[in-house]
């Protein structure tokens, strides 16, 4: 018999607690401002940050910077997704290839790639291409690794069905291997989105001439702390929306059964 699904917390409770968490964070911030317990250089007035955010959103420069950052993230992730899926698929075809490259991909997965960002600046300059390539390189490893692992570990019973029902090699790849590996592939893509997002912002802060990361770095280096916080706030909202969109796009249809 099918087991009864475990009852999870109600959505309204989850959202209520999320809002409460934000109230506590911003309330604590306002309290710290009011008591003067934290220096405004470290934690500026919340009201000043909010005013600065509204003002920034009225300026064309911020929207241009936002578009540049989003463009770098999306293109970088796109390149990583195509390359990662292709490499993962090719490596999964032969057990020897998987054995040779699995450790290498895993190593690339955990390597702090920001250490080599200066090389990207040398190779591709300070403009957009270095950010896109850096984001692509960061996101490539989790996507390729998960794709290879997912496609290599398809349960034998599914492949047996394909064999018994006369599936061609292409049909086996497309309908069985890709389907069975989908949760791992989607997980790799979701990780890739996060990696690309973090990498672009980091790259813009380390060496760039445009983008939200660059704006935040410029503001903080000039001690315009409320403006730096405002840019970071806009960045958080933008990346959250982008991640939410990608999460929705990459959600496994079967996940609804687990809820």
């Amino acid at each position: 018999m099918r087991a009864a699904p475990a009852a999870g917390p109600r959505r309204s409770i989850v959202w209520g607690l999320r809002i409460l968490f934000l109230v506590v964070v911003f309330g604590g911030w306002a309290l710290a401002n009011a008591t003067g317990s934290i220096s405004p250089i470290i934690l500026p007035q919340l009201s000043a940050v909010l005013v600065q955010s509204v003002e920034l959103l009225g300026e064309a420069d911020v929207w241009i910077a936002l578009a540049i950052t989003a463009f770098e993230m999306i293109v970088g992730f796109g390149i990583a997704a195509v390359a990662g899926l292709l490499v993962g698929f090719v490596l999964s075809r032969k057990p020897l290839r998987s054995a040779i490259f699995e450790k290498l991909l895993a190593w690339g997965y955990i390597f702090p790639i920001s250490l080599v960002y200066p090389l990207f600046l040398i190779w591709a300059g300070v403009g957009l291409p270095s950010k896109i390539l850096f984001a692509a390189a960061s996101a490539f490893f989790p996507i390729a690794y998960n794709t290879m692992r997912g496609l290599s570990a398809v349960p034998a019973r599914y492949l047996k069905v394909g064999q018994a029902f006369g599936a061609s090699a292409q049909a086996t790849d497309w309908h069985i291997r890709a389907g069975a590996a989908r949760p791992m592939i989607l997980s790799g893509l979701r990780l890739g989105v996060s990696m690309a997002t973090v990498s672009v912002v980091l790259a813009e802060m380390l060496g760039a001439n445009a983008g939200l990361g660059f704006m935040a770095q410029q503001a903080s280096s000039q001690f315009q702390i409320p403006q730096a916080y405002a840019v970071i706030l806009i960045l958080v909202v933008m990346t959250s929306l982008l991640l939410w969109f990608m999460e929705t796009l990459l959600r496994d249809p079967n996940e609804r059964l687990k809820k």
Binding site: M1, R2, A164, F165, G166, G179, A180, N254, L257
Partner: protein, 258 residues
């Protein structure tokens, strides 16, 4: 034309260096519309025989012939499988799972989905087409697996302990229902089972196998008319057949245990 599946002096070995064949010297002839059950101790090669009948294992010697033509690779329109663990694709809807066998066999998507929907209705799951397998009970999932095989209108249905993963009550009720459907449709079936009751109650003929190496030790005809009632299961004849099967399987099992 009446189809028949002929197993001719079949021997299967796992690997070239295997000292003892998995099964050897198997000779069987299964006629269209016949319901054959195969029973024997664990490791006697029942599943090996079934996989060979479906063209999934290459014989070391001998062969499988369907209407005189040697079966050298899986052909689900000739012999389609139902596996113990259902092996449905959890990422596809029920109707797509049933259609998948047809798609693999070359049907276009629209036709495959129409036939799949009809086959689901045939096994009583017409209203579950848009569910995912994980939303169905074990018994329903096995019906979907049967529908997937039947959708191809195979000459022979090869069932490898199809009810082995179900609880006793579901196993009995689903078994009775499905075997009635298959008998009414005139479907030829070869069914592997561990259950003495299943082997007798559903069979026109029982193939008893012994282990070490796997061979056919006895064929028993069950000439009880269809449809079979529950009274047959409590009859003296049923008990006699059960006792005979028990004794035929028991010595091999005991020697294996030693």
């Amino acid at each position: 034309m009446t189809s028949h599946l002929n197993v001719d002096n079949l021997e299967i070995r796992y690997g070239d260096t295997a000292v003892e064949p998995a099964i050897t010297g198997i000779n069987l002839e299964i006629m269209q519309g016949e319901f054959v059950t195969v029973i024997g101790p664990s490791g006697c090669g029942k599943s090996t025989l079934l996989h060979a009948m479906g063209g999934m294992l290459a014989p070391a010697s001998g062969g499988i012939y369907l209407d005189g033509t040697e079966l050298t690779r899986p052909d689900p329109r000739q012999a389609a499988f139902v596996f113990q663990d259902y092996s449905l694709f959890p990422w596809k809807k029920v109707v797509d799972n049933v259609a998948m066998g047809l798609r693999f066999a070359g049907e276009d998507k629209k036709t495959a989905l129409e036939k799949a929907a009809a086959e689901l209705a045939f096994v009583g799951l017409g209203d579950k087409a848009d569910k995912y397998p994980g939303e169905l009970s074990g018994g329903m999932q096995q019906r979907v697996a049967v529908a997937r095989a039947l959708a191809l209108k195979p000459k022979f249905l090869l069932m490898d302990e199809p009810f082995g993963a179900l609880d006793e009550q579901t196993r009995r009720s689903l078994g009775q229902e499905l075997t009635k459907i298959l008998h009414d449709a005139g479907q030829s079936v070869v069914l592997i089972t561990h259950s003495l009751e299943e082997a007798i109650f559903w069979a026109d003929r029982i193939i008893v196998m012994k282990a070490g190496p796997g061979e056919v030790s006895k064929e028993i005809i069950v000439d009880e008319p269809w449809p079979r009632s529950l009274e047959f299961m409590t009859s003296e004849r049923f008990e006699n057949l059960r006792a005979e099967l028990f004794h035929r399987i028991q010595p091999t099992t005991v020697s294996e245990a030693k």
